[in-house]
Symmetry: C2
Subunit: 419 residues, 2 copies
Amino acid sequence: MRGMDEVRPGREPSPPALPAEHVESLVRVLDVVRDTTATTRPDIARRTGLGRNVVSDRVRQLSAVGLLTEGDLARSTGGRSPRQVRFRAEAGVVLVADVGATSIEVALSDLAGNLSHTHDEIADVTVGPTEVLSRVAALFDELIAALPDGTRVWGVGLGLPGPVEFETGRPVAPPIMPGWDGYGVREFMAARFGVPVWIDNDVNLMALGELRGGLAAGHRDVVLVKVGTGIGAGLVSHGLLHRGAQGCAGDIGHTAVRGSTALCRCGQHGCLEALAGGAALARDGLAMAIAGTSPALARAHAEGHEISAETVIRAAHHGDVSSRALVIDSARLLGEALARVVNFFNPSLVVIGGGVAAAGDLYLAELRQSVIGRSLPLATRTLDIILSPLADRAGLRGAAFMVVDELLSPARLSAPSHG
Amino acid sequence: MRGMDEVRPGREPSPPALPAEHVESLVRVLDVVRDTTATTRPDIARRTGLGRNVVSDRVRQLSAVGLLTEGDLARSTGGRSPRQVRFRAEAGVVLVADVGATSIEVALSDLAGNLSHTHDEIADVTVGPTEVLSRVAALFDELIAALPDGTRVWGVGLGLPGPVEFETGRPVAPPIMPGWDGYGVREFMAARFGVPVWIDNDVNLMALGELRGGLAAGHRDVVLVKVGTGIGAGLVSHGLLHRGAQGCAGDIGHTAVRGSTALCRCGQHGCLEALAGGAALARDGLAMAIAGTSPALARAHAEGHEISAETVIRAAHHGDVSSRALVIDSARLLGEALARVVNFFNPSLVVIGGGVAAAGDLYLAELRQSVIGRSLPLATRTLDIILSPLADRAGLRGAAFMVVDELLSPARLSAPSHG
DNA sequence: TCAGGTTAGGCACGCATCATGCATAAGTCA
DNA sequence: TGACTTATGCATGATGCGTGCCTAACCTGA
């Protein structure tokens, strides 16, 4: 991996060099424009508390480096119409990837988390970091090849299915990623692409995606639950990701469920994940297919189809009674665990994401009932529990926001460093 | 309550008027001096990144209003010795109270959380807000009467045994405080004493006490567990109190314990609190005394002593086998719940406070074992679990820090408002 | 004890930033 | 169309803060 070209020919340094002065006000202006709390100069002045003159100047500077641009005139409020100011999300792209236990998702993202060229494929994370990351890098190469000339690549954002030490970008003792412990993921990608790289847990990135540009925008205390093969949660406190001391906060998949002894992939018995995760759904569905308890699943199995969580969910939607019971049972079990989480963390919003969220209202209704029935009334008084539509790709969007937010953070702009 | 003197004669407005300019640098200087990360002018400059000139000027201003003072010369590091700068904790006092389910604690605190004139008494919070708060106010009056002339009262800090909406200072649907829901506690105290008032949950205040001036200083992710009559937790994320959306975050006392149907004071069955709290210890101890299972408790009971959690703990320490088993069982149960909390929140420190913490190493050892045996290895890798000595009065200290921190916060200093 | 080096800390100056006032542009409303 | 309101640029002035210089006060080594 050594000896690669540090700076690619024809690629501009990224992000565009901002003036090192006025960092604070520059960021404040940029922030309110980015999340569209302000769209005109007077708006920005009001929101940031900066003088109208300063705002004008900062907008000028940011426009000069291509981060902002003027749009049409906005509606007048009685006098001269203000010109609209817009974040130039097209000023650069971010390479984002979400490595799951059994899959790789990559995409190109603009600076506002809008994805394009999304690509999914099956992959096994257990084959180790060099192989998986090489594949991700190859996919990134394809994305880069398709870029129009002169497009700036601002950075790489990566999600991994395990705990990550955010500062160093290294996995820490990930249970389902043998060989990845302490691996220098950032160094690998930085050497390959010569741009800044950030890595985080995939569930944290989903939470960030929902927080910065999704359903959780504006909330300060959020729990995002991803129900995929496994079950995990991303926590937001004070509007910031709560990663915990080791970066492994959010584990709810391996809490014991009463009266169960099912073996979990983590090695313990009775884990929630072993009962209510996607893998559990598939396992129980297969059992029902073989036992003949479910006509629909039995037929699918007989026809040679694999029985996956998706199969079970589809059968449930088509009225298969046993599948329906399985899905509802899964929702109820998750709800019991979530009730504890709600009591403890007291979020204003719980977002359910991941593959099982495709089960839709059937799942959500049971989940809601289960949570509300077991939580303190106060904690659920204004609590919202919603599904994150799958098409959202919150994880990839979160990866993009991670990169852009870090690059445009005051700390980095005032003292440019790694990357 | 209306018509009371708004500003008492002979009492100065509080806190001393700081200049409205330079608020940010003033606060930064004050902060590093307050938590003693910097004790000399050059130190302050290094820590805050401010110029030595600015630091000198701010120190001058803060000294002029009595918040800082110069001390002796510090050790030289090769050149002229710097003069030490110290926070004048004696520049004012804060009236603090911790209202528990069955008790009132009040004290005088200096601006650094050092308590004096501590006073405890039995009280029943269920008699309602006016009665309880009047009693607190009467105790405060006694404290004020004992103050030297000219002492400035900066504010009132109050802890309550239930969820509190921090911004308004009103209890929200507190389960064990009938009649308090939505009561204007702040208004009551402000009208009575004419100073700013802040109120928070008592467990949050314990966490704040440990965070700002106790065992948790410097940690960013902390869980404080109070095991008193009931069981509750205070959470610290990013070095800030996580209060949750309704201010009721930290509930762990009412999570279901498998295989139990004990009736809890919250009305549900099988709560942790009903099994492992102080009340449960007392209840089970009494049962053992009556049944004769424990000689020590039976004797105490026969002699007419009340069997409290403290009695059981003392018996355990004196070698009473049954009491010992009871205490250990309590620790084990709490440990099981805490293991889930540790997995979910991933703190770097867990502090155990409250009356049951008096059980000491006997309790702590079993608790540690129980937590570590059931948590993810990663989450416990650098986890510390410690006891908060009772004499600490972390709650009262936290109440003092709450008031002083709010009064010396940038927001308040730049735009003085309520109080 | 003294010289040379190092750190503290005050004072004056100058630069840079930001707010204010004024002029102008461009809209609304009667 | 005129009076009013709002937006925006430019010049001006105040203010905050860093820098350079000086003195004070300590150290080390001869």
